[in-house]
């Protein structure tokens, strides 16, 4: 373990309508075995004791699965490491004297709430449009009734690994949510259980995504690079196919 000192330039904004600006803080000595969020904890403890408001940032599980954390560090959502959430990014990846610019995820569809916190309820709204199989509790057939080939189940799980953190939107030059929507549509369209609502799902979820103000996919693959779960853009391609099938060959509107 060693100690490093960093300069932190953090976006501070007291509310959605307030004027925001970067504030510069010296981190003080930071252990390289700390996680990025623990580094922010240390800063916050100091700020509180000095009477300044702590930097607001979202976080919860701190083991890379809940999808709550995420900020843009030096231009990269979740920081420089690949397949890593911000809470799993450790300070040993930075050097003494580094300057870190920490910004919130920026997108029209993710309204800023405070400092580094944004409102990602748009993702919930998209899921509500069809990111499910319409089965009520009870009355379902035995789990082994429909065999699903192992590779198909694995592929569905690859897509279902999405943690809904929003890094794909943050990373996309166009703030598009195609990777998020593509992952959910893929997960369900690959499985037999998802077939009955397949067309309607693709249409409704895309419609909602557009309405919420996300941008358009430019096939630039930034989302795939930023995704902490490594979700592939092949899921976007599948969404493109699903949407086309639904538009051209189904009766769904």
């Amino acid at each position: 373990m060693s100690l490093i000192n960093l300069t932190l330039r953090i976006w501070r904004q007291s509310g959605p309508e307030a004027q925001g600006a970067f504030h510069t803080y010296e981190s003080g000595p930071i252990s390289t075995s700390m996680s990025f969020l623990e580094m922010l904890d240390v800063l916050n403890e100091r700020l509180i004791l000095s009477g300044e408001e702590a930097v607001a940032f979202d976080h919860d599980c701190r083991e890379g699965i809940c999808g709550m954390c995420g900020s843009v560090v030096n231009g990269k959502p979740h920081g420089p490491e690949q397949k890593t959430t911000l809470c799993q990014l450790h300070m040993r990846h930075f050097k003494d004297g580094d300057t870190l610019v920490i910004e919130p995820f920026r997108s029209r569809a993710f309204k800023l709430v405070k400092d580094l916190i944004v409102d990602r309820s748009a993702f919930d709204a998209i899921i509500a449009e069809g990111g499910y199989v319409s089965v009520n509790t009870g009355g379902t057939p035995d789990a082994n009734t429909i065999p699903i080939p192992n590779p198909t189940a694995e592929q569905a799980l690859d897509a279902a690994e999405c943690i809904g953190c929003g890094a794909c939107v943050a990373a996309c030059p166009n703030a598009s949510a195609m990777l998020f929507v593509g992952a959910k549509v893929s997960h369900l369209s690959l499985l037999p259980q998802g077939q009955p609502e397949r067309n309607q799902r693709a249409l409704a979820m895309v419609k909602k995504m557009d309405k919420l103000g996300f941008g358009n996919c430019g096939n630039e693959k930034r989302c795939e690079k930023a995704c902490p779960k490594g979700i592939s853009i092949s899921n976007i391609a599948r969404l493109n196919r699903e949407f086309m099938k639904a538009v051209l060959f189904s009766n769904e509107k």
Partner: protein, 214 residues
Amino acid sequence: MSWFLSVFQSSIGKKYIMALSGACLSFFLMAHLAGNTFSFLGKEAYNSYAAHLHSLGGFIHVLEACLALVFLAHILTAILLFIDNLSARPTRYAVSATDRSWSASTMPYTGALILIFLVVHLLNFHFASKMISTADQVKTVLGNPPLGFFYLVALSGLTLHISHGFWSLFQSFGANHPQYNRFLQRGGLSMAVILGALFMLIPLLALTTDGFLQ
């Protein structure tokens, strides 16, 4: 009609237009290039190719009209997408990522450059007075250093544009599979480079070789 509108108002629908029109434009480029190669065979061959093309009469006008429509669709949709995408992130990042792909990130700009080039190119050839032979026209226009250089720059832009566009149109249509992804990506890139190089060879020869098209 409402079905059509609702589909093509959607984000994915717009991508289909871009991809479909992009595919048509790629075919046009290939055909155009095939025609251009006559220039390497000499003045005679080139002029006779031009004459043959013009002799098609009505058919060629129909093709031109279609092409114009495709161009229009590609350009208008691109403008819509550009504006929409700009407004999707009202506040920009203070630090932007430095490792973006060149070809993808410059699509709107190379697109705009190609549009300017298109106008210049049409003025140079399509709407130019037909007093001299096509071969002479080529030699005069492209042999003029400022114009020739502009052609080279614009064609590099075109190369960059299609190097992303080729692969991208397949992705937009949902063609993405580990079996052929490498082929699509490499094939797209090679196509772009070959296409660009062959196109650029003409102004290059016109600028540097006196005997070209003589």
